[in-house]
């Protein structure tokens, strides 16, 4: 029987502020899961701490709401132990790029086959609106006592430099596009990163829905707002690395595109490369039965409860006779 979006809903009250971009993300994710036909028990949603940390409670799949900034370590542990699981990570921009930046960079080096969604609202939502690492220098969102003193990090560029093999950006209110990208991210073989521009109507009074929609810059001719967002696919951008020889060039173009901001903000897939072996493939070279007989699935004791371990080879090496 086909799965429906409602199959992925729990009874827990969704406690985001009215108009929060997170609603769009949640709905898109639930739709994507349903359309991909992923049975709820095969999916593990891992989140951090923040407004963005709450989705697992709203989604009827396995949910692991972890620590601030530590989504990736938990998620990687889960996936390594049981590579059959579909592991989807979600977290805030503060979570992933502030306190979690070290894991962000180092996860790229492993390329474990998972999906990582960042709710990028340029603020620390749940702690009441401090500047997040994606807030630009000099800006002063609603609850900052002073303008932001730090430059912003560029999540797309950072992901590419760190080795993520699927790097995309979407907009929280464009649920159809968002859903499609999430589906592709999940289906991607390797570590996929999706930067989700997520308006926070409560604290981010700069990058608002209206701002993204260009309400402040109406076309003088038509009088219509000119959206700041555009889609890479619409300009014929091709993110796919078809041969490793074009990898560096594709990365550079993606990083260049990632510099656009302000009046022209690209959405879509910046970079995609399935030629880099996943962690699963790498470890299988050493342990050929890794996927077939994964750590979490191995039998460790016999009927009598005795350990299946046979230590004789160890003892052979250590023996004193």
């Amino acid at each position: 029987m086909a799965l429906k979006m409602s199959d992925f809903k729990t009874d827990v009250f969704v406690d985001w502020c009215p108009g929060c971009g997170n609603f769009g993300i949640l709905a898109s994710l639930q739709m994507a899961l349903a359309e991909l036909g992923l049975e709820p028990h095969r999916v593990v949603l891992v989140s951090g701490i923040g407004c963005s940390g709450k989705p697992p409670h709203f989604v009827k799949t396995y949910g692991v709401h972890t620590l601030h900034g530590r989504t990736l370590p938990f998620a990687q542990g889960i996936k390594i132990a049981n590579p059959e699981l579909e592991v989807i990570v979600m977290g805030g921009d503060g979570d992933g790029l502030g306190i979690g930046a070290g894991h962000f960079v180092n996860a790229g080096r492993r390329n474990i086959d998972m999906t990582y969604l960042i709710h990028n609202n340029a603020v620390y939502g749940l702690t009441k609106g401090q500047a997040s690492p994606t807030l630009r220098l000099g800006l002063r969102t609603k609850s900052l006592p002073k303008p932001n003193i730090n430059e912003a990090v560029n999540p797309i560029a950072l992901a590419i430099v760190s080795g993520y093999t699927f790097v995309a950006r979407v907009y929280a209110y464009d649920t159809k596009h968002l859903k499609e990208i999430i589906k592709q991210a999940i289906q991607h073989k390797g570590l996929a990163f999706v930067d989700i521009l997520q308006p926070c109507p409560t604290y981010n009074d700069i990058n608002t829905k209206d701002w993204y929609a260009g309400e402040d810059r109406k076309d003088p001719k038509t009088g219509k707002p000119m959206s700041r967002l555009y889609k890479l696919e619409e300009i014929g951008y091709d993110p796919l690395v078809k041969d490793l020889s074009e990898d560096i060039a594709k990365k550079l173009v993606a990083i260049e595109k990632a510099q656009e901001w302000g009046d022209e903000i690209p959405l879509g897939i910046f970079y995609k490369n399935e030629l880099v072996p996943t962690f699963e493939a790498r470890i299988s070279q050493r342990i050929p039965f890794y996927v077939a007989n994964a750590p979490a699935k191995q039998q460790i004791s016999d009927e009598t409860g005795a350990s299946v371990a046979d230590l004789s080879e160890f003892f052979e090496e250590l023996k004193m006779s």
Binding site: T10, V12, E39, P40, H41, V44, I49, P56, H57, Y62, G63, V64, H65, T66, L67, R70, L72, P73, F74, A75, Q76, G77, I78, I80, A81, N82, L85, G102, H103, V105, N106, I283, I287, F289, Y290, A292, N293, P295, A296, K297, Q298, Q299, I300, S301, D302, T304, G305, A306, S307, V308, A309, D310, L311, S312, E313, F314, L318, K319, M320, S321
Partner: protein, 642 residues
């Protein structure tokens, strides 16, 4: 088995083969049916600073050093300077003939403070500043000095091997000293050869070179130092199967036995050896046949990732562990609290070392007991185990997973540097009695209807389901949660949920047999009782035997489960004790404090040490004896070691 006990020490710059020498020496003794205990000491340095191995060889099993050095095999002048006063009066020193004129105060690797100390010492004793002056002084008190022309011997060897560059053989100074040592000790040369053959098993050319070097040195000693040295070493015949194993290896083996399938780590001394050993053996032999067992060893970007990755793996159903020491554990604290809150069965092997902070990264200490007990904000149930010797390291490492899964909580397994980096011979571990107990786990077939991961139960334990199990969807969160695992801030739920978690400690108190929680040695009705934990065990047990033989009435409680502390047992055992003697490798007597906290019983005497070097049997014996003779202050601080 009236074999003479020999204490052999080999020292030289880090990287010059001290470990190798000790290993070969130890093996050679082991092959001769002797028991060996060897402690490794080294600076936090890769090459150049002083390191040494202190080996004790005996007919009986040993797991501690004594203060004596019967034979000091020095690769360089610094080794003599540092250890000369440890050599017993009829002992010997093997020294490079070419170095005896070294000006000891000019040895570049001496620290400022050692140099000052040495200067004072020379002044006080009115000695000149050459190594020969020190040696002559030692000679006066009966120490034999064996000057060996290392370079001449190496040249002979190089000639025989037709090697032109002398630098290609200088690495073998270490084996030379072994040859000399065994020559002096009159030990069976063929066992040394065997040791070399197995140690360099994969490198036949090196085997030949080293055997030649040993032979040359052995013969040199025989010819030149005939009958000069009183200590001899004899092989004996044994039946028993034995292994020569380090604490790091014993823990690794225990983990394999215990079914560990994911081990995460970030490199740190003295823990990393364990993980590397596991990684080198990642494909596991099992009784089930081929391709059925493997352990994934993940080197993470830091210890924060290590603990949380292990927790993730544990939630997915793999037995998972991480191993670290103080600085790394400090970073794991937040993850530990998450695991405590979410009732995750994760095992943390904690190798203590000299602290605080970077401290003495390669030296010993037992400073972290209180920290292990209270690490993490908030109150949550955990088990803290402390092994007392290498054998216990093995069994406890396996048992830790059973505790973790049965009681659904993190288990901290405390080891320390003295155990982790020491090696000893012991009878082959017997694992036939060990059973894997995974606790209450539900699979797909047992899941019908609503499943609550954190269901309130009488015992506090809720049936567990692995991530990915059909019909078992549930949630975890570091927030306080309701039975489903969803966030809950309701006061009533909170009161219950904290209690649910904490009362599992009471269950442990009830269920875990006291034999797994303490070891008792000596007289059950003794008026004087030593309490201790961890690696002082070896020294204490030996001291106790000696004191008992001397007629003293003494018992020793080795606490193995530090938390929950077996407080009823301790109350019973200690409340009518005349003298309670707390022996620990830290400044504040942490176990003593915990016993007082939990039982109210005051500790009469403390024997403490924190100089980075483990306690010796000699020290413990003397300090305890002072207490028994009513001559001890309430607090004795031990300082042996170099």
């Amino acid at each position: 088995m009236a074999v003479e006990e020999i204490n052999w020490m080999s020292g030289g710059p880090q990287g010059s083969g001290v470990d190798t020498a000790a290993n070969i020496f130890g093996r050679a003794c082991g092959y001769g049916g002797l028991y060996v205990y060897g402690r490794r000491e080294y600076h936090s340095n890769i090459k150049g600073l002083h390191s040494y191995f202190h080996l004790r060889i005996s007919g009986n099993e040993v797991s501690a050093n004594v203060n004596d050095v019967d034979l000091l095999a020095a690769f360089d002048a610094e080794t003599v300077v540092r250890h000369i006063n440890e050599v017993v009066s009829d002992g010997g020193i093997i020294v490079d003939k070419d170095q005896v004129e070294t000006k000891v105060l000019s040895i570049p690797t001496l620290t400022y403070e050692l140099r000052s100390e040495l200067r004072q010492y020379l002044d006080k004793k009115g000695l000149g500043d050459s190594l020969s002056d020190l040696l002559a002084d030692a000679g006066k008190s009966g120490v034999h000095v064996f000057q060996v022309p290392y370079m001449d011997l190496l040249k002979q060897i190089a000639d025989k091997l037709k090697i032109e560059q002398l630098s290609k053989v200088t690495r073998m100074i270490n084996v030379l000293t072994i040859g000399i040592s065994f020559g002096l000790l009159d030990y069976d040369e063929s066992l040394v050869e065997k040791a070399i053959r197995t140690f360099f098993a994969e490198k036949p050319r090196i085997v030949d070179m080293n055997i030649l070097a040993v032979k040359t040195a052995y013969d040199y000693a025989k010819q030149n130092f005939q009958n000069n040295f009183g200590h001899k070493l004899q092989k004996i015949e044994i039946d028993e199967k034995r292994i020569f194993i380090s604490g790091n290896q014993a823990v690794a083996l225990g983990k394999v036995l215990g079914g560990c399938r994911v081990q995460t780590y970030y490199p740190i001394t003295p823990a990393a050896d364990e993980s590397e050993y596991l990684e080198a053996h990642e494909i596991l032999k099992t009784k089930l046949g081929e391709e059925r067992g493997a352990i994934i060893v993940m080197q993470t970007e830091d210890e924060i990732a290590a603990i949380n990755m292990a927790s993730g793996a544990a939630l997915a159903g793999a037995r998972a562990a991480t191993a670290t020491s103080g600085p790394g554990f400090s970073l794991m604290v937040e993850g530990l609290a998450w695991a405590g809150n979410s009732e995750v069965p994760v095992v943390i092997t904690y190798y203590q070392r000299g602290a605080p902070s970077t401290g003495l990264p390669t030296r010993h200490g037992q400073d972290d007991l209180r920290f292990a007990l209270h690490a993490g904000h908030g109150e949550f149930a955990r088990i803290v185990l402390a092994s007392g010797d290498i054998r216990e390291c093995f069994y406890d490492a396996a048992a830790a997973f059973n505790y973790a899964e049965k009681y659904q909580m993190p288990v901290i397994h405390l080891i320390d540097k003295a155990m982790g980096n020491s090696s000893q011979t012991c009878a082959l571990f017997d694992s036939s009695m060990f059973k894997i107990e995974r606790g209450n786990i539900l699979d797909e077939t047992q899941l019908i209807g609503e499943y609550k991961r954190f269901k309130f139960t009488e015992s506090g334990i809720s049936p567990r389901v692995f991530l990915g199990t059909k019909n078992g969807v549930h949630w975890y969160t570091g927030d306080e949660h309701n039975e489903f695992g969803h966030i809950s801030e309701e006061p009533a739920n909170r009161t219950l949920m904290v209690e649910k978690r904490m009362k599992k400690l009471d269950l442990i108190e009830k269920e875990v047999p006291i034999e797994e929680r303490i070891n008792f040695f000596g007289d059950k009705n003794a008026k004087n009782i030593i309490v201790s934990w961890g690696s002082p065990k070896g020294a204490i047990v030996e001291a106790l035997q000696k004191l008992t033989q001397e007629g003293f009435n003494l018992g020793f409680i080795q606490v193995r489960m530090m938390h929950p502390l077996p407080k009823e047992y301790l109350t019973d055992a200690l409340q009518n004790t005349e003298k309670i003697i707390d022996v620990e490798m830290n400044y504040s007597g942490q176990l003593g404090g915990i016993i007082r906290e939990k039982t109210g019983i005051p500790i009469g005497f403390h024997i403490l040490k924190w100089n980075g070097r483990p306690m010796t049997t000699t020290e413990v014996y003397e300090a305890v004896k002072l207490v028994l003779f009513n001559k001890a202050p309430k607090r004795q601080v031990l300082t042996y070691g170099s």
